[in-house]
Amino acid sequence: MDDVSIKLIEMKMIAAMFQSLSDACSAKCISKYTEGSLTTGEEACVERCSQKWMDTFKKVQTKVAGSAGQPVEAQPQQPEQKKGWF
């Protein structure tokens, strides 16, 4: 795979991660929409939630990457793509 498609995939991944993270944390932390701003509790929750989501993601990523089937031929692209995720 060429550099351009790796970069594109990487960007797509980051966007999708952000989307998932904000969906998950708004579901977990924000219960009502009556106020125009976050309460102190909600703010703390969101902050911890994103941290925890990232931790969960990393755990899943190591597991999935460890047990994934072998790529069709190119192995060396794996570390390259991992480096870019974070």
Binding site: M1, M17, S20, C49, A65
Partner: protein, 79 residues
């Protein structure tokens, strides 16, 4: 698509496409699984890091999903 031999160039294109597809699929799986397990396991937002219960739950969630995938793959293969 009538069983004729593909040219080397076409083969290469397919391999490239498959590689790309695989990377994308891996990412998608990771994201889906993260969402699923986060939804199911993480309930305590009073501390910043994953506590022992949550960590165990995440591991169980991942391995359960993995086993589920294997079973369903077998069933699918022999449909």
């Amino acid at each position: 698509m009538s069983g004729q031999k593909l040219s080397a160039k076409d083969e290469q294109r397919i391999v490239n496409k498959l590689n790309k597809l695989q990377v994308e699929q891996t990412m998608e799986t990771t994201l889906d699984l993260t969402n699923k397990c986060f939804q199911a396991c993480i309930t305590n937002f009073r501390i910043r890091k994953l506590d022992d219960d949550e960590e165990l739950c995440v591991y169980k969630c991942i391995s359960l999903n993995y086993k589920f995938q294997i079973i369903i793959l077998h069933k699918f293969a022999f449909l």
